[in-house]
């Protein structure tokens, strides 16, 4: 005799499995439907509550307030514009008057300036007088303008000459502007 013969019909078990599966599918469908509906309604409501219209309304109100101050707005805008441009021009322009001042300050009183030429890149100075000591002091001070005050560089003494007739020394100095 075969002892492993199943006497209970497998149909009931199969049916139970089917019923279970059906229950799970139904439940899943219901949950998904509820979830999707909730999300759709929620997103719709959130979209409705975004305050775009009130912001636009505020913008229009503020703009109409500003339009009554249009002249002031234009003037102020141009004040800013001019101020910016003036700052740029002042920053970029050469400081030649300052260089001339610095050079004239160091020329001793006993000497007189015969010639002075200054542009953005170079300066040349011819000074005359009867004191070599003063001229020496002038050379020292010109060198100092390069070393300490950062105004000149490549200082060259071009010439030192004596006019015997008038008993006057003349010194010519050239330098590059920093």
């Amino acid at each position: 005799m075969n002892g492993s013969i199943n006497l209970v019909s497998p149909k009931n078990e199969q049916l139970e499995k089917e019923q279970n599966r059906l229950r799970i599918v139904r439940m899943s469908a219901f949950i998904i439907m509820l979830f999707v509906a909730a999300i759709a309604v929620l997103v719709f409501i959130i979209n409705l509550t975004l305050p775009i219209n009130s912001i636009k309304h505020d913008e229009e109100t503020t703009l109409s307030n500003i339009s009554s101050l249009h002249k002031k707005l234009v003037e102020y805008y141009l004040v800013e514009d001019r101020a910016n441009h003036l700052s740029n021009v002042i920053a970029k322009r050469e400081k030649l008057p300052n260089i001339i001042d610095a050079l004239l300050t160091i020329v001793p009183g006993e000497l007189s300036v015969s010639s002075m030429q200054v542009d953005a890149k170079k300066m040349s100075l011819i000074v005359s007088g009867d004191s070599l000591i003063s001229m020496n002091r002038l050379i020292d001070d010109v060198i100092m303008l390069g070393a300490q005050k950062n105004i000149l560089k490549n200082v060259v003494m071009q010439q030192l000459s004596l006019d015997v007739k008038n008993n006057k020394y003349s010194i010519s100095i050239q330098a590059d502007i920093k």
């Binding site: 759709a40 997103v43 979209n47 249009h70 805008y77 050469e94 030429q117």
Partner: protein
Amino acid sequence: MNNIDNLKKINVYFENLLVLYKHYKEFLLPTGVILASILVIIYIVFPQIQQYFNSQGLVKAEQKKLEALKNNYNLLTSLDDATIALDFKTLSLALPAQKDFAGIIDAISYVSAKTGVAVGNFEFSLGNLTASNFSGTAYPSTKIDISLRGNAKNIANFADEIVKTMPISEVTTINISGDTGSLTILFYYKPYPSQNISDQTQIVPLSAKQTNLINELSSWNSVGQTSLPVFSTAPATSSAGVSGAPF
């Protein structure tokens, strides 16, 4: 015979389908609901979420714009009309919108009298007079070569004073020989911005640097008169071209 075989086959096929339908009939509705939910997600929920993010970006941009407008309005209401008009006049005298010959002559005469330097010949160099010449030139200028009579100290004073006199200028060369001298001076000008200024133009409070500059300019020598533009009280329309006047 063949036809009969075919009919039999079709019959069997339909019978199979019927069996399957009867077997899975109960599953059809929930499966349909799941499929419909997926379609709702794809065609309704996702676009709505997308729209939410787009709208949020729009709200942020509009809020930023509104904030800028409110700042403009608050700034404008806090400003004194007379102060702005005075600042504008000062700055326009310092940096005219066009070649200011009268201002230049006035400045030279004033500085000459102030420093005791006699002015000899002078020569204007105007360059190209067409407006297109401004393109590529950040700051157009009128060049003037001027002969002076005076000692070195006075000529240096002249150069010192002319750069602190309106309209703004730059001394580019200085030649002194004995009691005569010559200067090359550039007098700058800058046309007003050609764009129309709308009410939505963002403005910011003047920086400390700009305020100091205006204070400094107030102490400069000023003798010229410049013609200031006449402002309209009506705001510029968005349809206005860029080549028009700013007012």
